[in-house]
């Protein structure tokens, strides 16, 4: 930008015009290339969000009414909807356990894979496989694995004399079952950590070894700081995705009824039922905004705390 201006001030009158028109042409092309995103952003993201924000203060039901009712939806949520609290608690429970477990699991796995033992490529393939498998097929597989009498998990526990729980029918165990299932696909973020570990310059380790740092010191003073940007990215995204858990609960409870004693009624499922089962759209939109604010605050806290522990190797960012 600065060089451009320097050129412009030096080269007067005639070429200036040409340069300007070239620049304008370039700008026009830029917006043209961006146009799909610009249209999509206005029509599919920003517009809908504004509509939803306004809608959350109405009694909208898609077909007939859309009267402004002030804060009624929000008041009702906090004072007169037990399922709101239950679903919020279920979701927080899920996030609270699944996010740390998968983060630590993925890091440990990536560290093991990065030790240069033979067959690394094969292991990487195997561990990553579950991460590409998703959808109803996988949930059905886990329903079978976790089935109390014919399932493999309880057979396996039985070998050690442990009587496995009724994973998907005992309300005390349903969420743990889903967290357990989530752990299976930890290879997805493992791949990110592995890529990041491989980007740590070898010279750092060599220097540390010469200084007499042992393996544990090397991990905490070199490896861990170097991969903090990926840890940060992983935590922020898994928090956002964790709060959106829906499909698993919908498929693994009977057609989205939220499972035994509402133990699988996650926030999104509650919202889904309000919006598309009883068409209480205004209320459902209010629900969505409350969770959005919760997620937003958590993300902002993460961003705020990041400079304290995330280590950036300066300069790469455009």
């Amino acid at each position: 930008m600065k060089t451009m201006e320097a050129i412009m001030t030096h080269v007067k009158s005639k070429p200036k015009k040409k340069l300007l028109s070239m620049r304008r042409k370039e700008e026009l092309q830029g917006y043209l290339f961006l146009s799909p995103w610009l249209i999509g952003f206005v029509c599919l993201t920003a517009g809908p969000m504004l509509f939803s924000l306004y809608g959350s203060f109405t009694n909208y039901d898609v077909t007939s009414k859309m009267d402004f009712i002030g804060l009624d939806n929000y008041i009702r949520m906090f004072t007169n909807d037990d399922l709101f609290w239950i679903s919020l608690w279920n979701t927080i429970y899920y996030v609270l356990f699944s996010v740390p477990l998968t983060t630590v699991g993925a890091i440990v796995l990536a560290l093991l894979l990065n030790q240069g033992v033979p067959g690394m490529r094969l292991y990487r393939t195997i561990f990553y496989l579950p991460a590409v498998l998703s959808g109803v097929g996988v949930y059905l597989l886990w329903m079978q694995l976790l089935a109390p009498s014919t399932g493999l998990v309880n057979h396996f526990l039985g070998l050690f004399g442990i009587e496995g729980p009724a994973w998907l029918t005992d309300p005390a165990w349903t969420k743990n079952a889903l967290i357990f299932m989530k752990m299976w696909s930890v290879g997805g973020s493992m791949l990110l950590y592995l890529a990041s570990l491989q980007g740590v310059p070898k010279s750092l380790y060599e220097a540390a070894e010469i200084d007499g740092a042992n393996a544990i010191q090397r991990f905490f003073h070199i490896t861990l700081p170097m991969i903090t940007p990926v840890i940060f990215f992983d935590i922020v995204t898994s928090l956002i995705y964790g709060f959106q858990i829906f499909q698993e609960a919908y498929v693994m409870s009977d057609n989205g009824d939220g499972g035994p004693v509402n133990s699988l009624l996650f926030y999104n499922l509650h919202m889904w039922n309000k919006a598309f089962e009883v068409f209480d759209m205004g209320y459902a939109m209010a629900l969505s905004w409350v969770l959005f604010v919760v997620v937003l605050i958590l993300t902002l806290i993460n961003l705020k705390l990041a400079p304290r522990w995330v280590h950036y190797e300066g300069g790469d960012e455009s």
């Binding site: 830029g30 249209i39 809608g55 292991y123 097929g137 498929v251 459902a284």
Partner: protein
């Protein structure tokens, strides 16, 4: 290892020996982990080939005593799976084409064209990654219903043509790596950005574009919430919805349910093994994130 290191021999040997044992230990852990990861997949295959009588037997058999391949045929026949497959392929094809086209154009714009407000707009792109899908789910449903798109594949086919933050980010990172001189040289030869995009950028970015195509394929193929919301007519159902209904019909016929699950997962598994390196490519680019 030979004779001239004799004095220090024992020290080096002990270090090397320790490393060797460490590697053995790690290998054992990785093998155990691999077995744990693969067992569910094996269990799915095994159960899909068993008779119901064998499934309920205790202790369970690891390899089926008899291979009931007819389970697959019976499963396929018990619901209109052929129709579901065609529907899914139709939606998936458009989703992949839309994602590749739109995101590569948008990403090129962000990476290689100079215009005002680019930084701000790119920050907006990244921040949309932070917006949970459920905030736009209901108003989008309202929009599509007002457009008369309910019960058509349009709500699933059209949005991919407008780009998505993660793919834009991924491709932009890749395009940034194309030397600027190359673009400038083409411009001096009179090429427009569109020509440069088509002739230079896209061919060079093939690995990144393949990554986007595969990710887009997987997410469209596995999408459950979208079809569940928008497709109510049985002739429009996708495989995911079909399988969900089949779940209710087959109840605890685990052999059929596993056969159905495996058939639906098969394309994803095959693609994964063929195009594995593109998943790794995707991870490498994403891990380059600096904030």
């Amino acid at each position: 290892m030979s004779s001239f290191t004799q004095p220090k021999h024992s020290y080096f040997q002990s270090v090397r020996l320790r490393k060797k044992w460490m590697n053995v230990l790690i290998s054992l852990l990785l093998i155990a982990g691999s077995i744990l990861i693969l067992t569910p997949v094996w269990w799915m295959i095994s159960t899909s080939l068993k008779s119901m009588q064998e499934i309920t037997r205790f202790p369970p058999t690891i390899i089926p005593e008899e291979f009931h391949f007819e389970n697959y045929i019976n499963t396929w026949k018990s619901a209109p799976f052929t129709l579901y497959t065609l529907n899914t392929l139709f939606i998936t094809t458009f989703a992949v084409i839309g994602s590749v086209l739109s995101n590569s154009l948008i990403a090129y714009g962000f990476a290689k064209i100079r215009f005002r407000g680019k930084k701000v707009l790119f920050a907006v792109v990244l921040s949309t990654m932070m917006i949970p899908g459920f905030v736009t789910l209901i108003p989008q449903y309202v929009l599509f219903s007002k457009l008369g798109w309910l019960n058509t594949a349009l709500p699933l086919i059209v949005p991919p043509f407008f780009g998505s933050a993660f793919y834009i980010f991924l491709l932009r990172q890749f395009f940034m790596g194309i030397p600027h001189e190359m673009i400038e040289a083409a411009k001096i030869d009179g090429a427009s950005h569109f020509t440069i995009w088509r002739r230079i950028a896209v061919p060079l970015a093939k690995p990144a574009i393949a990554t986007v195509a595969i990710f887009a394929f997987n997410s469209a193929w596995n999408d459950f919430q979208g079809p569940l919301l928008y497709l109510n007519d049985e002739v429009l159902y996708t495989l995911q919805i079909g399988l969900q209904i089949f779940k209710g019909e087959a109840a605890t016929q685990w052999n059929y349910l596993m056969a159905g699950s495996l058939l639906v997962l098969l394309p994803v598994i095959i693609l994964f093994f063929i195009f594995q390196r593109y998943f790794i490519e995707g991870a490498n680019i994403t891990a380059g994130i600096k904030g």
